[in-house]
């Protein structure tokens, strides 16, 4: 592949190769450009500084909140909702997804509820869950799990349906036991699509936690945003939002790492 790209010379190819080789550098460049534009807008004075604080003001506020423990405290409070919620949601979704992929009866019985649960926005259910399970961590975990559930479920079903019939026949002709069918064929074959669902789920889980904290909580980054907004501490709002973005990106990155580990056979040109 690299050989072909080197011999054919279109500029787009060279550019693409260059971008791939310097991926990290380009991420930094894009960040720097964004910050520059942001700073530019605040300097022109079109937007009052108390509505849109400049990047350096936000960075300073972030630093202060980091040192006085505000950000870490709320960060870990949110993380304690996001991670168990993600696990709970994806485990139940993959188990149920497996059963649905195997049984058309179950699929027909459950799909109205599944689709309905998707049609109702989380924001609408969140208050109910908080009434039922209290303003503590349980209700937030459940909200996260609920948001994660659907994409993981759908991808589990799609992934399992795509397991090649030829390989099923092979396993049957080798007299594989049912658990061997799952472990040696279905799990690895469905893994690419499943991890795609988990990638979406990981970022949605963060959103779920924030929604829950907005509705009713006494800690977490969503709660912090609410409080800071009430105090017109807009730099802190920005700092909390950026922390959330960081958390979502980190979770997304973890799934990407899992993909690199489990899907090595799919990714071309990764040295083994």
């Amino acid at each position: 592949m690299t050989k072909q790209e080197a011999t054919s010379l279109p500029v787009s190819h060279l550019l693409r190769k260059y971008v791939l080789q310097h991926r990290m550098g380009f991420v930094l460049l894009s960040l720097a450009l964004g910050i520059l534009i942001w700073q530019g807008i605040t300097l022109t004075g079109w937007v009052p500084a108390y509505l849109l604080p400049g990047p350096f003001e936000v960075a300073a506020r972030f630093w202060r909140a980091l040192l006085d423990g505000t950000i870490p405290r709320h960060f870990f409070a949110t993380l304690q909702e996001v991670v168990p919620g993600l696990l709970l949601g994806s485990v139940t979704a993959s188990v149920l997804g497996y059963l649905i992929a195997k049984s058309h009866v179950l699929e027909r019985l459950l799909s109205p509820y599944l689709v309905a649960s998707q049609a109702v926005p989380v924001v609408a259910i969140a208050p109910l869950l908080i009434i039922w399970f209290g303003p503590g961590i349980t209700s937030k975990i459940l909200i996260c799990a609920l948001v994660v559930f659907f994409p993981v479920l759908v991808n589990t079903v799609v992934g399992l349906r795509a397991v090649p019939q030829n390989l099923r026949d092979l396993m049957r002709s080798l007299r594989a036991r049912p658990w061997q069918m799952v472990w040696y064929l279905e799990i690895p074959a469905a893994m690419p699509v499943f991890l795609g669902g988990l990638r979406v789920g990981a970022t949605l889980s963060v959103i779920g936690a924030v929604v829950g904290e907005f509705v009713g909580a006494d800690r977490g980054l969503g709660f912090l945003i609410n409080v800071a907004r009430g105090q017109y501490d807009h730099p802190l709002v920005f700092a909390a939002v950026l922390t959330l973005v960081g958390m979502a990106l980190a979770l997304y990155g973890l799934v990407l790492l899992a993909e690199r580990r489990f899907l090595r056979w799919q990714i071309p040109n990764i040295p083994r």
Binding site: N166, D169, R172, S173, L174, A176, P188, A189, W265, Q266
Partner: protein
């Protein structure tokens, strides 16, 4: 039935299996498609039998019935060999697991039988060498050519030392030269390991070169229209393709297929 047994060189032996009046009808909206009707033949231990016939004559269906992947709608397949003996099926596509490397693919049957992984991988290394793929143990299936992949599939099927090897056009997806080479290698492997083989093929010369007997199937519904002994001496070589006996057999088979 009786006359057939007298004609066969291995009369004294009990057959390995008997395909007894097997019929297969796939259901559809107007009465079903009849793939096989009244298929009847014996397979003797250590015999190499090829099945020839036009496409769509139910040859693959027959193999899948013998392998136990399908249940016939009529008749049955009777095994006289010990029940423990294994059946191994090789498909037209190599059908490797893309996430397992070559060594792990070859070892799969043993691992499924419960052999410890390390031991199974060791045995796979032996088979890698037998099929001439030493050094490719860590390669992934997508890095292999069609011929190499099919060799991995054959190693995977032979590693469990099957009593019966079913080959469903195993070289159908390969180019002509690779195909001849693979046929030679299969012959060599069979001469060393001597299992009972039933192979579906489209190639008349391949069938003659490899087998003790050739069964010719009619088009749908598939039936055995000719059961021809191939009495060429073994070991056989490529050169035999140009002998007059080979030509005579080829003509006879060709006539049976076109009829």
């Amino acid at each position: 039935m009786m006359t057939f047994e007298v004609a066969s060189p291995s009369t004294a032996l009990q057959p390995y299996l008997r395909v007894d009046d097997v019929g297969m009808r796939y259901p559809n909206d107007n009465g079903g498609i009849e793939a096989l009707r009244g298929v009847q033949f014996d397979l003797h231990p250590r015999e190499f039998v090829c099945v020839l016939g036009p496409s769509g004559c139910g040859k693959s269906t027959l193999l899948r019935i013998i392998a136990g992947l399908l249940t016939p709608t009529h008749g049955e397949v009777i095994f006289y060999a010990p029940a423990a003996s294994r059946i191994s099926l090789v498909f037209q596509d190599a059908n490797l697991m893309p996430w397992r490397n070559v060594r792990e693919n070859i070892a799969l049957p043993l691992i499924l039988q419960g052999m410890p992984r390390a031991h199974a991988l060791q045995k796979a290394d032996v088979w890698l060498e037998i099929v001439g793929l030493q050094g490719f143990g860590d390669a992934l299936p997508r890095e292999l050519s069609g011929g190499m992949a099919q060799r991995v599939a054959i190693a995977r099927s032979l590693i469990q030392e099957p009593g019966l090897l079913l080959l469903d056009e195993p070289f159908g997806a390969l180019d002509a030269l690779t195909r001849e080479k693979m046929a030679d290698e299969l012959l060599r492997l069979w001469q060393e390991h001597r299992t009972t083989v039933l192979m579906v093929t489209h190639s008349i010369s391949e069938a003659i070169l490899l087998s003790d007997r050739v069964l010719v199937f009619s088009s749908r519904p598939g039936r055995v229209v000719l059961d021809l002994d191939v009495n060429l001496p073994r070991p056989r070589e490529e050169e035999m393709r140009y002998t007059s006996e080979f030509g005579r057999l080829a003509r006879e088979l060709r006539r049976a297929i076109t009829d």
